[in-house]
Symmetry: D2
Subunit: 341 residues, 4 copies
Amino acid sequence: MIYFKNDYSEGAHPDILQALLETNLVQDEGYGDDQFCKEAADNIKRAMSYPDADIHFLSGGTQSNLLAISAFLRPHQAVISADTGHILVHEAGAIEATGHKVLSVPTTDGKLRPDDIRKVVLYHSDEHMVKPKMVYISQSTEVGSVYYKSDLQDLYAICQKFGLYLFMDGARLGSALCVKDQDLMLSDLPKFTDAFYIGGTKNGALLGEALVIVKDELKEDFRFHMKQKGALLAKGRLLGLQFRELFQNDLFFDLAKHANEMADLLRQGFQNAGYPFLSESPSNQIFPILPNSTIKKLQENYAFIVWGPVDDNHSAIRLVTSWATKEENIEKLLRNIRSPF
Amino acid sequence: MIYFKNDYSEGAHPDILQALLETNLVQDEGYGDDQFCKEAADNIKRAMSYPDADIHFLSGGTQSNLLAISAFLRPHQAVISADTGHILVHEAGAIEATGHKVLSVPTTDGKLRPDDIRKVVLYHSDEHMVKPKMVYISQSTEVGSVYYKSDLQDLYAICQKFGLYLFMDGARLGSALCVKDQDLMLSDLPKFTDAFYIGGTKNGALLGEALVIVKDELKEDFRFHMKQKGALLAKGRLLGLQFRELFQNDLFFDLAKHANEMADLLRQGFQNAGYPFLSESPSNQIFPILPNSTIKKLQENYAFIVWGPVDDNHSAIRLVTSWATKEENIEKLLRNIRSPF
Amino acid sequence: MIYFKNDYSEGAHPDILQALLETNLVQDEGYGDDQFCKEAADNIKRAMSYPDADIHFLSGGTQSNLLAISAFLRPHQAVISADTGHILVHEAGAIEATGHKVLSVPTTDGKLRPDDIRKVVLYHSDEHMVKPKMVYISQSTEVGSVYYKSDLQDLYAICQKFGLYLFMDGARLGSALCVKDQDLMLSDLPKFTDAFYIGGTKNGALLGEALVIVKDELKEDFRFHMKQKGALLAKGRLLGLQFRELFQNDLFFDLAKHANEMADLLRQGFQNAGYPFLSESPSNQIFPILPNSTIKKLQENYAFIVWGPVDDNHSAIRLVTSWATKEENIEKLLRNIRSPF
Amino acid sequence: MIYFKNDYSEGAHPDILQALLETNLVQDEGYGDDQFCKEAADNIKRAMSYPDADIHFLSGGTQSNLLAISAFLRPHQAVISADTGHILVHEAGAIEATGHKVLSVPTTDGKLRPDDIRKVVLYHSDEHMVKPKMVYISQSTEVGSVYYKSDLQDLYAICQKFGLYLFMDGARLGSALCVKDQDLMLSDLPKFTDAFYIGGTKNGALLGEALVIVKDELKEDFRFHMKQKGALLAKGRLLGLQFRELFQNDLFFDLAKHANEMADLLRQGFQNAGYPFLSESPSNQIFPILPNSTIKKLQENYAFIVWGPVDDNHSAIRLVTSWATKEENIEKLLRNIRSPF
């Protein structure tokens, strides 16, 4: 079975394992007060040319989302999300469990736009409704689309106007920043968001997300929130060390580029074979539409998600590539869709 | 600087790192549905001779405690804890953040006894107060004491009588089960608790606790709670693999025995040198009382926690050993306390 | 200014005030353990020919909704609501503040139907999403429509099939049960719901809703939840006494009938004058569509809510009648819409 | 049966009922936006000579406590309370249900002192523990003692020093302000607290507490919190009207003085008859110690709470007086304790 099911089907990039081996017996402080976390934070600050952020290392995406949202908002405040947003549907009510409503906005491509924000804010007019205070976006989105520089600038401007925090879920940030024609850079994120996180789990780490808090008023006491939600690992060094490696040279970007290149090959292959796509996705998730019979055949040798039916005889599938995807497996899959099995 | 500060100052036991290396590129399912988690659960079930439990792998102790308590209790129910209990003081209000009160019981040695439980239950008589429904104990306790077999049997009997769940925090379970004269075995835990967890972080893993749910009514839908609290790791295999190794042969117990032997050496050394102890602790944490001047001297070369003042000139310190503690470092420390520096 | 803004613009029905005067100096127990609450519960049980329910008296609708939902559900479970549902939009996130997600279903007339439920349940397939466990309906709905007997039977059947609780918000239950052609009776509610409440605030009481818990597994410890949410009034007798009066003879129904008759007059008057309606509403809220210029004129003498624009020149307004609405005020309003001011 | 069980055994003071009758058919806005709430707030501001406060009318003490605490604190912050504090024991975990820990301080007389606060603050030193941010006191306390002016000034000074909010539960504020030798006045409360509430339920109202928010940073968006916790009554006028009456002339203080005078008679009577007291209580709750046999006898004709055993043959009882207590009933009780029955 060959996996295109997600970008977390394997362990970690070998450089990361190597660093674990080399530092294993170094004695250091617990709970993220170690040298590795400090070095990792320094590396990230340098990579984004922004020294003035607070950086915290967390274990996963849902944990990062629920922590940021519950730490940043007061009880009556709500967060706005695209209807495809991870926090809206796929976190088992994690945000609501911290007491906050997620306000859903219908989108065609998974991306929020300024006018969406405006409508939600104007609709919530009095104390009988929650008060929108944060905008949540995913980069790349859950359907593979990405925000470009002007997209983010425009969103940030409307957030500023209405006094909303802009928070970016970067579980797949690497891929989003490395798609072709992307003019948004890591160094832009501190300028156009209030907080965001850099996903490690889906880009070569065993686990780990680096939460970057830019806005000063959101920084205070954040470690209390981490502890309270069970997110302060005794051996926090495990997270720090991995991000130190990812941002040592350009490993983080190199891994994302590989994932995108593999996705490009897949996309091109499906296009050449005449298959349409459910959505335009330039990042490491693609959504080709196939006959159900072909899907059934493919499932014998490949692991992937059937996204949903398109008509009685066709469905969209989701294929995901990663730092670990092998070109030979792409070729094998493309051969299988071109010629009958 | 030599660390006796805690049992999580290093990385992981080499066998665990080796297993990570060997399995790194194996492709498998996410979120704990992988082969490694299954093998780990099987190994643990075999080690405790109890196949009928549900086992979930979590990232840390606070996460395990807050998850178990919030998943098992209804909103008006409370958990009883010794006044030294980790959940009461050192989890930044993690339990209360899930909506539940922690009822504190004063103890002399960190251990709860049946009469403590009886008093709390009888005091809470009507709907103006919370309803006690769970007893939380730590094995070993936060002050190094341990529950022996009859201790646990007696506690479980009173819990059964009053309809309370008995939940054991086993962050340091390895050490507790391996102290001299311990007659309580891993296979006893499913008989005398409703749920407990086996600590990996403090006994050789990079991170990880194995939550064992024994009582049937507590098993349902537990993975929903994990997801909701941000505890379902995408690469859950990282946790499974480590517990597979710890319970492959007797690694878990071997590591705990080493930690205890190192603590025995320390304890014996301090006793021989004429130092008293704050408490009787047979496990891998000891609490000798030293002149403040000696403590100050020691701090130049050793990292440890000053537990608190005993009189104007003396304080207790906490020394913790682990799977990684080297005998030569013990000897060095003992030399320093025997002879003036 | 004449109020058609809501059904809580005045105080209480005179019979209720009279009973308060007569019983004022009677000494009795606090927190709802008094004779008046007992008599009220007996009267309600008799009125619905169902002695086996638990009845609790609460202060308002949002309090009743948040209490029932948070007491009945476990943390990962969610409640399904029509997109017009009070709990979804107009309770400032009260349900989410207790930790539960509200799943929104689009409707054309404010009423949920079995197929809506089926779709939501089938969509929520695994532990990455919340688990639907309750269906919330309002009787009458927020847009004035009502459930008839077969509507409720069908909903209850699908809830039974999927193991969902059916909970009815009866803030305006009186009006809903008294509309023309209504075949659903109070005595049907214990048969076709698991819990519901009878609204007093909007039908003649100073304040108060009577929560009726039918399903045995939902009854346990409910008073603990009431206390915990601040809903156990020291002088609970105030609530009991009012419901004793409302269900002494047929006061509750008589008041609702008056409200409906006044709404009928209004509806008929607007129809005769040639105005269309936003929705078909047989209960005590009606939604006629008027030219904006007419609305502006009316606002000089009448208080009501402008529901929203229908086109550039017309808007729907909401007119609400109550036990206290005077026929002469209806006539005055109808004269004003028939002839230019 | 004659009630000395509490100060909420009857309905409301006749003036309040009269005002309800007179205003019953006045039409006005819902949710506290009515003229009566405005007049009530004006009356209270005048009575405390402090126009710059926000005043909200709530239904009961537990509701007021949980609302203030959850609205004022961030998730990781905790509230300090005396071990007798109502929020600690007798609110069924209401505060914890909003996510906040209550830190208990042992006291001899129910009163917190500056040194208690200092110790708690200094103990909570890092992010592994909650962060104390509020001090909760009851005036009068749950054991009948009261804070005098210098007590409150000292507490407020230490709160200022450590950046803590000082919040006063005034469920029995009337009695506390009217005890003999009391030098603290209503007009002092805005000077020496950040927020407090004035209890109506236990001083002549059917229900109602007036929450006074003094500190500016605590005022914002409070009505959102009220709505979210189910505390915004549709007929909020019911609360406003009652406080308008209580603070129209000096009704609030007159009623409290009567309660205190009745308690004075009781206290004097028990003293004269040679009975000791559990605690020194100058307010409307007294705690005489009686032989168990006498208590048993009294229970045949009087309703009161047996507070707890003092030795094998004696127990303390709690007797509470109110605005409605009749002098003839005091005399009857005192006759019964002086002479054998």
